[in-house]
């Protein structure tokens, strides 16, 4: 079990780097979606044996984070006819270096925190923190509103990984509520992005400067 889980988590980390290093928006969205799929898989590996509810939740996670949310984002991307590049504030090399730094820091930080015995040696906590930090990098260094949504999604993916340790404490309904909130959140953000495109005829971000002191 631990082998399979570690494999999944390493793949999650690889998709972090893919997200930071690629210029095509579509690829970034797909990377976040693939991450969602892997998370659904990780959930099944860790908790699938504990009953039909857990299986349903794992499949729902994969479906929502891996299929539905990327589709919403691709839909919002289509509302924009040209310029489907990410357009970061910093170069891709710098992004990747920041990503590597964040991953290193996550491993160090997880090392200083005491882990429960069952989780020592597993990549769970470092992978979670690294993905959260990657989400932050995407959120702060990317210009377009749609890419920022992907950043939020990555952040949320990272938090989800941490949540894998706590499934017993989360009632089924609350887990579903969290998932639905993310889904509706991305949906609403997608709608707002489409409105931004209509109002400003660009994918927002750097045009949103009318409100300031």
């Amino acid at each position: 079990m631990s082998e399979a889980l570690n494999l999944l988590l390493v793949s999650v980390l690889l998709f972090n780097f893919l997200m930071l290093g690629t210029s095509r928006m579509r690829a970034v969205i797909h990377a976040a979606g693939a991450q969602g799929m892997l998370l659904g898989g990780a959930f099944l590996v860790m908790h699938g044996a504990s009953g039909p509810r857990a299986v349903a939740l794992g499949i729902a996670t994969a479906a929502i984070k891996g299929i539905i949310i990327p589709r919403i984002l691709i839909g919002a991307l289509r509302s924009q006819p040209i310029r489907r590049e990410v357009e970061p504030f910093v170069s891709f090399t710098t992004s990747l270096l920041l990503g590597a730094l964040a991953t290193g820091l996550a491993v160090l930080f997880a090392g200083t925190l005491p882990l429960a015995e069952a989780d020592t040696g597993e990549l769970l906590v470092p992978a979670s923190l690294a993905t959260v930090l990657t989400g932050f990098i995407v959120l702060t260094t990317r210009r377009k509103a749609l890419t920022q949504v992907v950043g939020y999604l990555t952040l949320e993916n990272g938090i989800f990984i941490f949540g894998l340790t706590l499934v017993e404490a989360m009632p089924f309904l609350v887990e579903i509520g969290v998932l639905l909130d993310v889904l509706v959140g991305v949906f609403v953000m997608g709608v707002v992005v489409e409105h931004i495109v209509r109002e400003f005829s660009s994918l927002g971000g750097d045009d949103l400067t009318e409100l300031r002191e």
Binding site: L155, F162, M170, P171, G185, V192, I196
Partner: protein
């Protein structure tokens, strides 16, 4: 328990009704009807309070904080709901179906927040308020409002995501200590002394930053001026009075676990730092502020600072802070609703165009002016009493430096805010408005007058049931002395 869920189901049912009504003129009346229903329900819940109290591993229940907040939110919502039909009649050009529906969904989620005893459920409720208020902010459908909505949505969602991570850390601190994994507040407080310290510390920082973003504490307040500036005044009142109070209670619930774990000193330092910084940022940005709705947003940042500062002082300071939560909410209601009346008449929210409001819309302008005196802590209004309570507790606790900074910042706010408010209400109205002294309609004024009377009442006399509710809530947070 099913009785408690009614507090969520009732507004949701009315939301469906609002969605179904075809007439733009009739639909806003669903809001006051729902408010009356909610008032009756709260009276019923009040009688059953003992049986509904939070207990054991239940993830629904009324703790003293939730009880206080639920009662307060109902009164605030009722005042805003009775204002809504008059306001929406002034905006016939804007469809209000989504507005009325989302208003009720928003209220239902605040109620869900009050009754949830599970860290995860509480998170779901707060996140859903963010999502349901986004369409409310976008009511005006222009460039400025889409920008404000985007910032609100993104900053709010990211902040609240950090709170989720903090919640998980909290759960992990129990798991690490070998305790049975639980995220129910009652269990966490009971097991607090055994929780793993490093995880508990990290968790409180994340929870404070996360829910602090929703409160609008500096430096996570950047969404606030845009959102409050562009939102309809009615929404501003409910955000500044309702949602921020919910986020404050979320912080207090998490704080109570840290206190029970014997790590209160660590948390108090953090709360104090955020409190003073928020008061300073709010005060500085209020000086020479020409947009009177953005000014109200900075006033909200400042008062959120006062709330966490009071909690950091502790003891009587926490009591004052909880009282201030009510005072601030009701006063913000007065200010946002009267500002909305002024805004509607002048069609601008800049002091360049809005002057002499006392001559043109005398009643609304007078209420706005009185609201200003109340919010800056002038006696005999409620905020004076609660701010004075916090100040006295700070001095009594030997924190004279904090008390001095508190007073200096209050003075800065008074001067800064005063200049803008006086520019709005005094002087001659700009050409074109001078002759047109309009008749202000009673439905637009009565809810504001009622809110002002509440602020006045809380300043001169606190009813015994409220006083004991405040005392219970304060003892609940800090535990037995």
């Amino acid at each position: 328990m099913s009785l408690l869920l009614l507090a969520v189901a009732l507004p949701l049912a009315f939301a469906l009704v609002a969605l179904a009504i075809p007439s733009e003129r009739t639909r806003p009346w669903v809001l006051p009807v729902a408010a009356i229903g909610q008032l009756l329900l709260i009276a019923l819940l009040g009688e059953q309070r003992e049986t509904l109290a939070a207990s054991g591993g239940n993830w629904l229940g009324l703790d003293p904080l939730g009880t206080l907040l639920l009662g307060y939110l109902t009164v605030l919502f009722a005042c805003c709901a009775f204002y809504a039909p008059a306001y929406l009649r002034l905006r016939p050009e804007r469809p209000n179906r989504i507005f009325c529906t989302m208003m009720l969904v928003f209220f239902a989620m605040m109620n869900l927040f009050c009754i949830s005893q599970h860290v995860g459920l509480m998170w779901v409720a707060i996140e859903t308020t963010t999502l349901s208020t986004a369409p409310l902010l976008y009511f005006n459908r222009n460039r400025r409002s889409i920008e404000a909505t985007w910032k609100y949505l993104l900053i709010g969602s990211v902040g609240i995501a950090l709170a989720l991570l903090g919640s998980f850390f909290l759960g992990y601190s129990a798991l690490h200590a070998g305790l049975e994994s639980s995220l129910v507040f009652g269990d966490l407080v009971a097991h607090a002394p055994n929780l793993s310290r490093p995880w508990l510390h990290a968790s409180f920082v994340l929870l404070l930053v996360g829910y602090g973003t929703k409160m609008g504490l500096a430096p996570m307040h950047t969404w606030k001026p845009d959102a409050y500036g562009e939102a309809p005044g009615l929404v501003g009142a409910l955000l500044a009075g309702g949602l921020t109070s919910c986020a404050f209670v979320a912080v207090l619930r998490c704080y109570s676990i840290v206190v029970a774990a014997g790590e209160g000193a660590f948390a108090r330092e953090l709360l104090l730092a955020f409190g003073l910084l928020s008061m300073a940022v709010g005060g500085v940005f209020m000086v020479r502020q020409r947009d009177y709705k953005r000014m109200l947003a900075y006033s909200s940042v400042e008062h959120m600072g006062i709330l966490v500062l009071g909690a950091a002082v502790g003891g009587a300071g926490l009591f004052g802070s909880l009282l201030h939560m009510l005072n601030n909410g009701f006063t913000k209601g007065v200010l946002f609703l009267s500002a909305a009346n002024i805004h509607r008449h002048f069609g601008s929210k800049s002091t360049d165009q809005v002057q002499g409001a006392l001559r043109v819309v005398p009643a609304s302008a007078a209420l706005f002016l009185l609201g200003f005196f109340a919010v800056t802590g002038a006696p005999p209004f409620g905020p004076f009493l609660s701010e004075f309570t916090i100040l006295r507790a700070a001095v009594a606790g030997g924190r004279t430096g904090v008390a001095a900074a508190f007073l200096a910042l209050l003075l800065l706010v008074f001067v800064g805010m005063g200049a803008t408010v006086l520019a709005v209400v005094q002087g001659e109205a700009p050409a074109g408005h001078a002759a047109s002294r309009v008749r202000e309609r009673i439905p637009q004024l009565a809810p504001i007058v009622l809110l002002l009377l509440l602020v006045l009442l809380l300043g001169v006399w606190i009813p015994e049931p409220l006083e004991s509710a405040l005392g219970r809530a304060a003892r609940f947070v800090e535990g037995p002395p």
